[in-house]
Each structure stands twice: as C-alpha cells, then as structure tokens.
C-alpha cells in the first residue's frame, strides 16, 4: 500500500520538526557560549544593535531578529558552526549580500544567521579552460572584473550585480538582462563545494562539462539555502562579445509591443537581451536619468544584439525591420558605447526611479509563456485599478519574466497588506496563464502561499523528501521555499471560505 503523501509527511520527519524549530532545550547564553568556544576568533554578533543590519534582506517588509550572526572566514569555521548547530538543532540561515527579494535570507528568531560575506577571494582564474574558482561571498561583478584582462566575462548579470554574491546567485539561480542568450546561473556554474548541514564537504559537478552520477549540481542551484552551504564555486567564463548595439523601439500600445516580442523570437533570432517597459516605468525612468526615451510611448522594447560586428549588423537589420512591421513608431539605435549605456541606464534605474514615484514599492516576479504577454499586462492593469495601487512594468520580455512593481505607501493603514494581496493575485494570474510564480527571485517566505497554487500535495511532499535527503535534521533555512502541506490545506480552506477559489480546476487537498 502506498501511504498518502500527506499522511507520510505529517507522520514526522526532519522538515516538519524543523519547522517547529525546537532547538534542544538550551538557553541562548549557553548556545552563544558553545558557538564562541567552537570558533575562537570568529565574530559572533549578538548585541541588538549589531543584529539590526541583518534583520531583513531585500524584501524589507519582513523582519526578524536572529539569536546571533556568525561571520566565519574559513571552511573549517563553517564546519564547526554547523556541528554545534546540528547538535543543538539550531536553525542556520545562510546569507550572502542580503539582496534577495523573497526573504530567503530572512533570519529566524532564535536561530543563527550565517553570513558568508568574508569569503571574498577569487581562488583561481583559468583562462585556458575559461573558468573561475571563487569563494561564495565574491560579488557577481567582481568575477567579470577579474576575468576582463583575459577578454572573458561571467555571463549572468542580475541588476544587483555590484552587490549580490555568487553564493546567493547559486542559491536563487539568478538571472539577468542577458540570460536570454547566455543562460541563467544553472547554465554557467560547473561545480560547487558545499557543506551539508552535518558539516560534510561535498563537491557537486566537476571542472569538466559533466560529472558522474545524478546531476546534483542542477538540483542544488536554486535550492535557496535549504540543501547546503556553498563554500566554493567554479563558474564558466565566456568570451566578451566585441560589439553590442541596442535598439530602443516605442509602441503606441502595450499589446503591439507584447506581440512584437513573439514575432521577433518566432523569426528565428534570439537577441542578447529583450526588455520591456510600460508607460509608467518609462516616465519614471526618463524623469530620473534622461535616457532619451519618448515619454508618450505606451511601451518600449529594448533589444540588444551582440557578437562579432558582421553578425551584429545582420541581426540589427533584421530586428529593426521586424520591430517596424510590428508597429514600432520610433526606433533609436545606439551608435556608440556611451549611447548604449545611456539607453540602458533608464531600464537599469527603473527600481530607484520607481522609488521616487511612491514611498514604497513591491517588486513582483513571475514567468508566463510569451504568447500570454498581452493578456497578462491587460489583466495586471485591471487588478491595479481594482486595488487602487499603481503598477509599473519593467521586465525581461524575451523570456516572459514579469516584474510588476506595485507602488504603495506603507504609512497608510492597510496599504502594505493590499499591495501583498495584489502581488498574490498577480502570481496566481501567472499560474493561470500557464506560467510560474517565480522566474528568478525565489520563493523564500514571500511566495509560500503561492507554492500551494503552483504545485499539488504530491510534488510538495516530494520536495520535502529531497530536503530530508540532504538535511535530515531540518536545520538549514527551515520553513522557507517549500510550504508545509497543512499550510496549503488551510489556505485552500480559506479560499473556499471566501468563496473566491481562484482555480476551481486545480486539485486541492
């Protein structure tokens, strides 16, 4: 007989207990004493003012004070920390730069925050094999800077590249503007050294293009700090394209811009980047950085082609023709590197620009099939009106990765809650359109409820089993990324209770 996944999950096992987070009855003082004596010389912060900077990550609406913050600098120290935490069943929350947008590095009250910020060495750069071996706290940008003298670069380029760490990128499978052509983090990492929660050092992947056994590297990338602590990474470097040119195309309607995206890609041509901005985002960005965007456009497409000059010229000609055919009424092509960077600047400062339009903003993340772009944007506009909160759209159109920015004012009663509820509706819309609730920011604590919509009980139970295989005690970043089944059951009940079950067709439990 197969036990039902729900029953077998509720029977117990690491993940569930960890959620209860019972560290073996030990006073906070005793825990601190044991930690400090295990890692003499390693900072273990525990004063309230020292802990404050670690209360939240980039999802600032959620805050929690950890018991302590440890800032080790060697693998041996991390191992000692994990051994103590494992013995005490103390939750451990890994943290890179804290730029995550889903609360993945949100501390846990009574738990330990493990900052990997001092692991900042580039250990080796191998121009012949085109790889870099780095510590996990090295920033994304620093890898490309170190590779630049060899004409190489590390391709995934999240907008947070100057701050975010490769450890955090691996944990979130971060993407960037150019991942349409060069792939996500998972496509650009060859190997990671991880520590299991039980402090065992394992290598996943290899310096070669594949490794023996299961593809544990692929499983690990994007696991949000739940399966192990990254202590070293070997990443793939690519030759820097000699030329990049950017086309800015303006459209009189969001629909025609969205349709142009499908047509461009359907023509058999994949640009290096294909981004879209709607009118609210265009105006905010233009007022902020004066990039030269037409302020009256309903939508802009930013289409970049890169590579050898002959190839770029050919692609640009094709793209311009296609954009015009799709109804672009204004085209501007960068003619110099300065102009290209200026044209990008508007897109890249969309976040701070939005920050000037409202006291607070909430950045959403979800992916839909490209064909559904026009409908998705129409329905987001409708939801925005329904909730009375403006939504600006700036996103990775080429791979259907939406980033609606919900503008609100947290000082007004109820507005944060309304913004979150609107965000939840947008995630549900993505699932309904055949997409997913997160394309690159992760689930963290933010999207636990939406996971109940994306997956059925059977898949969620399987995720918990995978977690148990890596972390039988359930001490690593517990309670994040995968909701407990009873949370989903309660949520289902709640939805029914309100009479607004979003997708009656989707199985519930």
């Amino acid at each position: 007989m197969t036990p039902s996944p729900l029953a077998s999950f509720l029977r117990g096992g690491g993940a569930q207990e960890a959620h209860g987070a019972a560290s073996r009855s030990c006073s906070p003082q005793e825990i601190l004493r044991r930690l400090r004596s295990a890692i003499p010389g390693c900072p273990v912060l525990s004063e309230p003012e020292e802990l404050r900077p670690y209360e939240c990550d980039g999802l600032t609406a959620y805050r929690e004070t950890p018991l302590a913050v440890a800032i080790p600098e060697s693998i041996a120290q991390v191992q000692e920390i994990l051994r103590v935490c494992c013995a005490l069943r103390l939750p451990v929350i890994p943290r890179g730069a804290g730029t995550g947008l889903s609360g993945g590095a949100l501390p846990r009250s009574g738990g330990l925050l493990l900052s990997m910020a001092r692991f900042r060495k580039i250990l080796a750069l191998d121009p012949l094999n085109r790889t870099a071996r780095v510590e996990p706290g090295v920033t994304n940008r620093a890898i490309s800077e170190a590779a630049a003298p060899h004409g190489l670069f590390y391709a995934p380029d999240p907008s947070s590249e100057v701050a975010c760490t490769i450890g955090g990128n691996i944990a979130e499978n971060a993407g960037g503007l150019h991942c349409l052509k060069y792939g996500l983090t998972v496509h650009n990492v060859l190997a990671v050294k991880i520590l299991t929660p039980e402090a065992e050092l394992l290598t996943l992947g290899a310096e070669a293009l594949d490794s023996a056994g299961f593809d544990l590297l692929a499983l690990f990338v994007g696991s949000e700090g739940l399966l192990g602590v990254v202590v070293e990474a070997t990443v793939r470097l690519l030759p820097r394209p000699p030329l990049a040119r950017l086309i800015v195309a303006a459209f009189a309607s969001v629909d025609s811009a969205a349709a142009a995206v499908g047509k461009l890609i359907g023509r058999g041509f994949v640009p290096a980047a294909l981004e879209m901005m709607d009118n609210l985002a265009i105006r905010a960005a233009e007022e902020f950085v004066h990039a030269g965007y037409p302020m009256d456009a309903a939508a802009l497409l930013l289409c970049e082609c890169d590579g050898p000059p002959e190839e770029v010229d050919e692609q640009i000609a094709l793209a311009e023709e296609q954009l015009r055919e799709s109804g672009a009424y204004f085209l501007r092509l960068s003619c110099s590197e300065e102009e290209r960077l200026l044209l990008w600047k508007g897109r890249k400062s969309a976040f701070p620009a939005a920050g000037r339009m409202a006291p607070d903003y909430y950045c959403m993340d979800g992916t839909i099939p490209r064909r559904a772009l026009p409908e998705a944007l129409r329905r987001i506009a409708r939801l925005s009106a329904e909730y009375g909160l403006p939504v600006a759209n700036v996103f990775h159109a080429g791979d259907g990765n939406l980033h609606p920015l919900i503008l609100y004012d947290a000082s007004r009663p109820d507005e944060l809650k309304r913004a979150e509820s609107l965000g939840g509706r947008i995630s549900e819309l993505c699932v309904e359109l055949g997409g997913v609730i997160t394309g690159e920011h992760g689930v963290g604590v933010e999207k636990l409820d939406q996971m109940c919509i994306q997956f059925r009980a059977a898949e969620l139970a399987q995720f918990h089993r995978i977690k148990d295989a890596f972390d039988p005690e359930g001490i690593l970043n517990p309670g994040k990324a995968v909701p407990l089944l009873h949370r989903c059951a309660e949520l289902g009940a709640m939805h029914v209770h309100r009479g607004t079950l979003p997708f009656p067709g989707i199985e519930r439990f």
């Binding site: 070669a208 490794s211 692929a218 696991s223 002959e310 898949e459």
Partner: protein, 354 residues
C-alpha cells in the same frame, strides 16, 4: 501533430503502482537503442515506447512538449520543418530512439560546449516515481525557480529516479549558416589552439580532433560565419554533416578500433595523456575525449579525478561509471529512496545498489 498519439499514463501508473505494492523490479525501456550506456537491469520490462505523441509545440514560444515514447526522429523532423532544432544535438544511435530514453541518458552531441547540454534544455517533466505517483515538475517556460529543479535532476539519471512520461524542452532556431573547417594538426597543438579559439568571440558550434586532423564547425549568420572562416583559415570540409554525425553517433572508424572504449570528461585544455598508450578522439572542444587503450580502470579513474573530471568505460556491451566518493554515494542513495523507496526502478543501472 504526430501520427501516433497515445496517452498511456493511467496504464503505466497502474503497472508501476502494482510493481511497488508487490515489490517487483522494473526495467524501463524506450527504443532500446542504448543498453550499452549503463549496466544491465534485472527486472520486468516496462516499455514507455507506446506512450507517444507531441503534446504541444508552438514555434514562437521555442518550447516543445512530447510524450516520452515519441521517436526522436519525429521531433527532429517537426522542428526542422519550422527552422528549429534541439541545440544539444542528441545522438540517437538508431532510428527508434525515443525522447524519454534520450533525456534519461542525458546525452548531448558535438554542439554541447557551445550551446549547452540536454539538461540545459529540459524545462519540465511529468514522471512516475517508484510509488507509481504521477508528478509534474517545471513548466513550459524558460525561467522558473519555484521548487527544486527535479526536471534537471532526472535528466541523465537513466530512469533510476522515475519513469519519464512527458518532457518539455527549450528548442532553438536553426542557425542560418554553417561551415566546417579542417586542417592537419597534432593533438597537443590542437588542444592549445582550441583553448585559444574558444576564448575568442567566434561562432564556434563544434570542435573535434580525430587523431590526425582538427575539425571546427562554425554556425551563425551568413556574414558572421564567413568572417570567422576567413579569420581562422583551413580547408572547407565537403560533407560536414556526415562527419559530425559520425562523431555524434559513434560511427566514426575510430570507434571500430579493437578494445574497450573509454569516455573521458575533463577540462577542455587538459594536455596530459591518460596513463598507458592508446588512441584519442576529441569532441566537445576537448572536454569529451574518447580513448581506445587498455589500462586498469582504477588508474583511469584516478587520472580523470586528478584532472578535475571523470571517466566511464564501455566494454563488452556494458558501461562502468566512475565510482563516487562515499559521502556523495550515500546522498545518491538517500535521494533514490526519496523517489523510489522500494528500489524498483532500473535498480543497478547506474551503480550497484542504486
């Protein structure tokens, strides 16, 4: 849509569930073209071949979803009709190879170092786990970080974690132009040249050395390929497709040399030869090397590990993979148990007791 279009989900799920309940081991079969890739499996044969058909394909989305039994050839034909292809160039070894078997083996062809591996193109899967439960991971979109990436985990697991029923793949536009250059060149100097070329922004799409000659394939726009070919120089190969096919499908005369065949997966610029004399054929710009030679397996495994890679031995119709470190192997076993608690799916295919 495909001529043969059959959904056998229910029947297959029933079979796996019954096998689970009565503890009967299963041996999964697709087109049965690749038994040599793993170890032989004891068990009742469960064929997924009749579960076939293209479920969804929209060229503008660059995504294709098909049932596991769909013949790879049917997928190639459909994509080609729309100017698209599977950029990981999977080998098929015979016309009856199925999509499920191909993804289960995780095989990639000559374009792999430049365009990515099978796992890089897998976006989602439906599978039956060892309890007979139908599970769906991933989706038909390119960017997705909701939940652990099980779709990529099961790629290359050779059916030991689940029976694949349906697979969604990212597909790509067929490069408009392609050309292969060749020149006589020694192995070592070829490895050096390949490292140099791969660090330059050239539209390379395959690079191989057959023991005597270096072969470079360029793919991209007409003008891009022409400019690169002029820069690199060398003779134009008259029938490039036949050559790359022979490398991909292992029909190149090299593979008929007597003796066991080794696959060496190493960092591409590795210069050190494997221990013991033998002959090499380089693919993947040096990152995948076929070696005909005789040496103690343990010596080869030790060598491959010290180079930062791994090795597999194909001998007498069997395949032996590089042994895993104990800690890693223990984790493999725990994961296997998480997917297949009774160990009924292709047990022993990859490793003894897995």
């Amino acid at each position: 849509m495909s001529q043969s279009d059959r959904d056998l989900t229910e029947a297959l799920a029933d079979e796996v569930r019954q096998a689970h309940d009565s503890g009967i081991r299963l041996s999964l079969a697709g087109g049965e073209t690749k038994p040599f890739l793993g170890r032989s499996v004891e068990g009742k044969r469960l064929s997924v071949r009749e579960h076939c058909g293209i479920v969804h394909y929209e060229p503008t989305e660059l995504v294709l979803t098909a049932r596991a039994g769909t013949p790879l050839g049917e997928i190639h034909d459909l994509l080609a009709a729309h100017g698209q292809w599977l950029p990981f160039e999977p080998p098929s070894f015979a016309s009856c190879a199925t999509l499920g078997g191909t993804i289960a083996c995780g095989l990639s062809g000559p374009a792999r170092p430049f365009f990515g591996a099978a796992r890089d193109f897998v976006l989602g899967v439906r599978l039956l786990d060892g309890r007979g439960q139908l599970l769906h991971f991933g989706a038909e979109v390119i960017k997705n970080v909701a939940g652990y990436d099980v779709a990529r985990l099961v790629t290359g697991a050779q059916g030991t974690l689940g029976a694949l029923l349906e697979i969604s793949l990212k597909v790509g536009p067929l490069p408009p132009a392609s050309e292969t250059l060749t020149r006589e060149e020694g192995l070592e100097s070829s490895i050096r040249r390949l490292a140099e070329l791969a660090a330059k922004p050239l539209p390379l799409s395959a690079a191989s050395h057959d023991g005597e000659r270096l072969f470079l394939r360029l793919s991209g726009t007409e003008a891009g390929v022409r400019a690169a070919a002029n820069r690199i120089g060398g003779e134009r190969l008259a029938d490039p497709d036949a050559f790359w096919q022979s490398v991909r499908e292992r029909t190149h005369p090299f593979f008929s040399l007597p003796g066991p065949l080794w696959r060496l997966s190493v960092p591409p610029a590795t210069l050190a030869p494997p221990p013991g004399g033998g002959r090499l054929l380089l693919d993947w710009s040096g990152a995948q090397r076929w070696w005909k030679g005789s040496a103690e397996p343990t010596a080869l495994w030790e060598w491959a590990r010290s180079m930062g890679g791994h090795a597999a031995l194909f001998d007498s119709g069997r395949c032996r993979l590089q042994p895993l470190d104990p800690g890693l192997f223990a984790l493999h076993k725990r994961l296997k148990a998480a997917f297949d608690p009774k160990g009924i799916l292709n047990s022993g295919r990859l490793y003894d007791s897995l």
